[in-house]
């Protein structure tokens, strides 16, 4: 890339790196759509044309397009249900195309539990529009009033005198290349699909050895590649013997661009052996040495401070009991079970990348900058990978594969990272510290709340080449863009930093740490997890100080009826009021949050037992209640919340990336262990509270904070000590109880 283009791009860094605003599709015909789009819901606002979302051919085959990606959260299934419901066809009649830079709307990244809100809402309304247009076309054909035309659930429109026409016939005389109209009513009558249990469309292939993942993609003539890097992020290989490796059997090419080094071979095992040979000389840290105590360093680092809540002018009752505490969480891995993978092919000036990125369009922009190709020359196709839980190595491996593919034109290249590369190089979930100084009055109300949230960025997502691992390895290097905070109300490190409780006198300051010594980016719920853990631990500390029941104390300080409903539902179903500690080291914990204070509500009640000899914790009964707005697939919501609970127990009870001066030390599942079956809860019971007609709120990140906090509160109840630094690991608990 020439210097002037490089400079121009870096000047626009902030705009590009954090803009999730989708651009119009090629078929999108900007400009003629007028102001109506401002009234359109969900992603229709950015992409208002109906045929960007739904197409019906003359045979009646229906294709629905979404810019969101399946990450294992069941989004494909839920979106099929939404479309089937509003079009009034069986779900099997719908084919869904997802996240593809040449086929689907640009819906930014699949993140933040936005898929149902953005894409689900768009498809719901687009389908209502299409159904209405089909009914109007039928009415015109039969010379009857449009309200006399009905759907039959089978892809036909029916007229008042027994007329019938297929959607395909009607669509043939109709253009869907028109903007959605706002306010088109939803289909009346009982739901056939929406809100019902519906089996995931992707599970059969996954359970029977079908081709389900980018890892399973096999293209004709495909080569296998491995990238050779140092021990972990920040390290560079010492003197790799490229010539010797080029001579190894089966090696097609060693690809070297600046400090980027990879090997391509005819067979996967040859590529792995060649990679190991390139790494034989070891590696050394090229980046600045890591501080000895990352958490202390975080507190001492320069920050940009913003007061995100200030009601201190309001007079409040005199605090009766005060509690001050500092909570922290370490750096966590996303920890996909399958290391990140991509397949790339460069042929006839066109780069095609099959990728499990969360954002095909932002990735394409970053790849264009990295490779000096035009965005139109790059086609990113989302193909499922192992669950990512945020920004893992998906984009990085796609960039690695793209660079390799450019070096072997014509041949598709499959690259999968090794286990230690995923642990060692993926952007980590950000370490955080939250300080809270709070008090209650004599009536059990929260009378004072002062909080400081210390957090580096939670967003290192591409859009720019400098956000890709390979970017800074190029010569000259692409600079990693300076991170910026994600503004409230969604927030980044300060996500969920403002309690939903009624606070008479409160101030919350978000301290955005400007630089992070380790590579970080979005991990499921961003700062929401730590803030909910801190707030919900403090709520329990206040309840304890006032001698109040934790659930009653929460209810007493909340006004939102939907918050009250999930808390009561979880407490009732758990039998909170009847809980008995009994002898030994049994404990009960409760926690609640509304994700981002604007999405799904979730409350969790948990029982744990602590082994007084070893400090080992076992979660027993866990009950959750969730309100994610109108429920599309109750089983899908339960699956997400169950998973959130188990994952959060792992995060909270055992996980922390280790570091030494050279970099990361937890480079496999022994060095960075996660929860196994032996530590899975006794039972997990999730109650879904449906809110028909309410907006979709998304369920993917609602459970982590409440589950983590309930675990902390239950352990505290069990051992009689409050541990405030995550993880609440066995050695820490053992030390606390003096076992």
């Amino acid at each position: 890339m020439n210097a002037s283009r490089r400079e121009m791009l870096s000047a626009g860094a902030l705009v590009v790196a954090f803009s999730l605003a989708p651009r119009a599709l090629a078929q999108g015909g900007e400009g003629t759509l007028g102001a109506a789009r401002a009234n359109l819901p969900g992603s229709l606002r950015q992409t208002p044309l109906l045929d960007a979302w739904i197409r019906i051919d003359r045979q009646g085959a229906i294709t629905v397009f979404t810019g969101k990606a399946e990450l294992g959260q069941g989004i494909k299934t839920a979106l099929v249900q939404v479309a089937a419901e509003e079009l009034d066809v069986p779900p099997v009649a719908i084919r869904l195309v997802s996240a593809d830079t040449e086929r689907t709307p640009n819906e930014g990244v699949t993140a933040g539990s936005h898929s149902m809100q953005d894409s689900g809402t768009a498809i719901l309304n687009a389908a209502a529009n299409v159904r209405t247009l089909l009914a109007e076309a039928a009415a015109g054909r039969w010379g009857v009033a449009a309200d006399g035309v009905t759907t039959a659930g089978d892809g036909h429109m029916k007229g008042p005198s027994g007329q019938s026409a297929t959607y395909g016939e009607l669509a043939g005389g109709l253009s869907l290349h028109v903007a959605a109209r706002p306010g088109v009513p939803r289909r009346g009558g009982p739901h056939r699909t929406l809100g019902h249990e519906f089996a995931r469309v992707d599970i059969p292939a996954k359970a029977t050895g079908g081709q389900a993942y980018v890892q399973d993609l096999r293209l004709p003539g495909m080569l296998h590649a491995r990238v050779a890097r140092g021990r972990s992020d920040g390290a560079r290989l010492k003197a790799p013997d490229v010539e010797a490796v080029e001579a190894m059997p089966g090696v097609v090419k060693v690809v070297r661009k600046g400090a980027f080094l990879a090997v391509v071979a005819e067979r996967q095992w040859s590529a792995i052996l060649a990679m190991r040979a390139l790494q034989k000389g070891g590696s050394e840290r090229a980046a600045a040495p890591l501080p000895a105590d990352l958490q202390a360093n975080l507190m001492a680092s320069p920050s940009e401070d913003e007061t995100i809540l200030d009601t201190t002018r309001m007079p409040g009752p005199a605090p009766a009991r005060q509690v001050k505490a500092r909570y922290s969480r370490p750096w966590l891995i996303h920890g996909s079970i399958g290391p990140s993978c991509a397949v790339a092919q460069f042929e006839a000036g066109k780069l095609t990348v099959w990728t499990h990125t969360q954002g095909v369009f932002p990735l394409r922009a970053a790849l264009a900058e990295l490779t000096n190709l035009q965005p139109e020359q790059i086609h990113c196709i989302h193909t499922e990978g192992s669950g990512c839980y945020g920004h893992n190595g998906a984009d990085d491996v796609a960039a690695d594969a793209a660079l390799i593919a450019l070096a072997v034109p014509g041949r598709p290249v499959r690259l999968q990272w090794m286990r230690e590369q995923e642990h060692g190089f993926e952007p980590l979930g950000t370490g955080m510290v939250v300080e809270i100084d709070a008090a209650i009055d004599g009536a059990g109300r929260i009378a004072r709340w002062r909080s400081d949230i210390f957090s580096p960025s939670h967003n290192g997502r591409p859009g720019r080449a400098g956000n890709l691992l390979a970017g800074p390895e190029m010569e000259p290097p692409f600079q990693t863009p300076t991170p910026r905070p994600i503004p409230m109300p969604e927030g980044g490190g300060d996500r969920n930093g403002i309690p939903l409780y009624t606070l008479a006198d409160a101030k919350v300051v978000s301290r955005f740490i400007l630089t992070s010594p380790v590579r970080v980016s979005a991990l499921r719920s961003l700062g929401g997890f730590m803030n909910v853990v801190a707030i919900e631990c403090m709520i329990d500390e206040l309840a304890l100080a006032g001698g109040l029941d934790p659930v009653a104390f929460r209810l007493q300080n909340l006004d939102d009826p939907r918050a009250v409903a999930v808390i009561k539902a979880a407490a009732d179903r758990f039998g909170w009021a009847r809980r008995e500690k009994g002898p030994g080291s049994n404990g009960f914990g409760f926690a609640f949050a509304r994700y981002k204070n604007l999405a799904a509500y979730c409350a969790v009640a948990m029982q744990v037992s602590v082994d007084p000899r070893t400090g080992a914790v076992k979660a027993g009964k866990v009950v959750a209640a969730v309100d994610a707005g109108e429920t599309v697939n109750p089983g899908g919501v339960r699956n997400q919340i169950e998973g959130a609970i188990v994952q959060a127990i792992s995060w909270t009870g055992r996980e922390a990336m280790g570091f030494d001066a050279a970099g990361r030390t937890g480079l496999d599942w022994n060095g960075y262990p996660i929860l196994r079956f032996g530590d899975a809860p006794g039972s997990v019971d999730v109650q879904v509270i449906d809110r028909p007609g309410q907006p979709f709120l998304g369920a993917g990140e609602a459970g982590q904070g409440p589950a983590g906090a309930a675990f902390c509160n239950a352990v505290t109840d069990a051992i009689g000590h409050r541990l405030r630094d995550l993880p609440l690991s066995v050695p820490r608990i053992k030390a606390a109880i003096g076992a």
């Binding site: 294992g72 359970a207 990978g385 027993g620 169950e642 998973g643 496999d668 599942w669 039972s683």
Partner: protein, 157 residues
Amino acid sequence: MSVTLTVNGRQHVLDIDPSTPLLYVLRDDLQLNAAKFGCGLGQCGACTVLTDGKAAFSCLMSAAAAQGREIVTVEGLAGGAGPGRMPKAFIDEQAAQCGYCIAGMIMRAEALLRTKPKPTEAEIREGMQPNLCRCGTHMRILRAVRRAAGLPVEAEA
């Protein structure tokens, strides 16, 4: 060099480096999708297959060592008209989120039930211990194993 493998009841004669881990032979030479690369270290179980009826990490076993053994992958569990007992139980229980670990889980569970047709809850959890799931699908996986064993799907809490 030539290696002879028996996979899902079929014999394959392959001209490959006999030190190649079985996993890559299954995936790349035999084009079987089920066994997955997870760690290459025997720590996660995503690559689990049956060798002579016992669960094995196919990432740690060389093709040479796999010769002469009956190797079974998820593809080999298919029943006459549809998925076999264990895959069907996982589908019926919707026991997957991303699903990357699921093929390994199915083979681990299959091996468990072949030795202990009616395992206790503790035996199921201990039996599944070598396999990791990051999505937190553990409770559903346990239900699927109980279902396949003909046990009550909900265990005592």
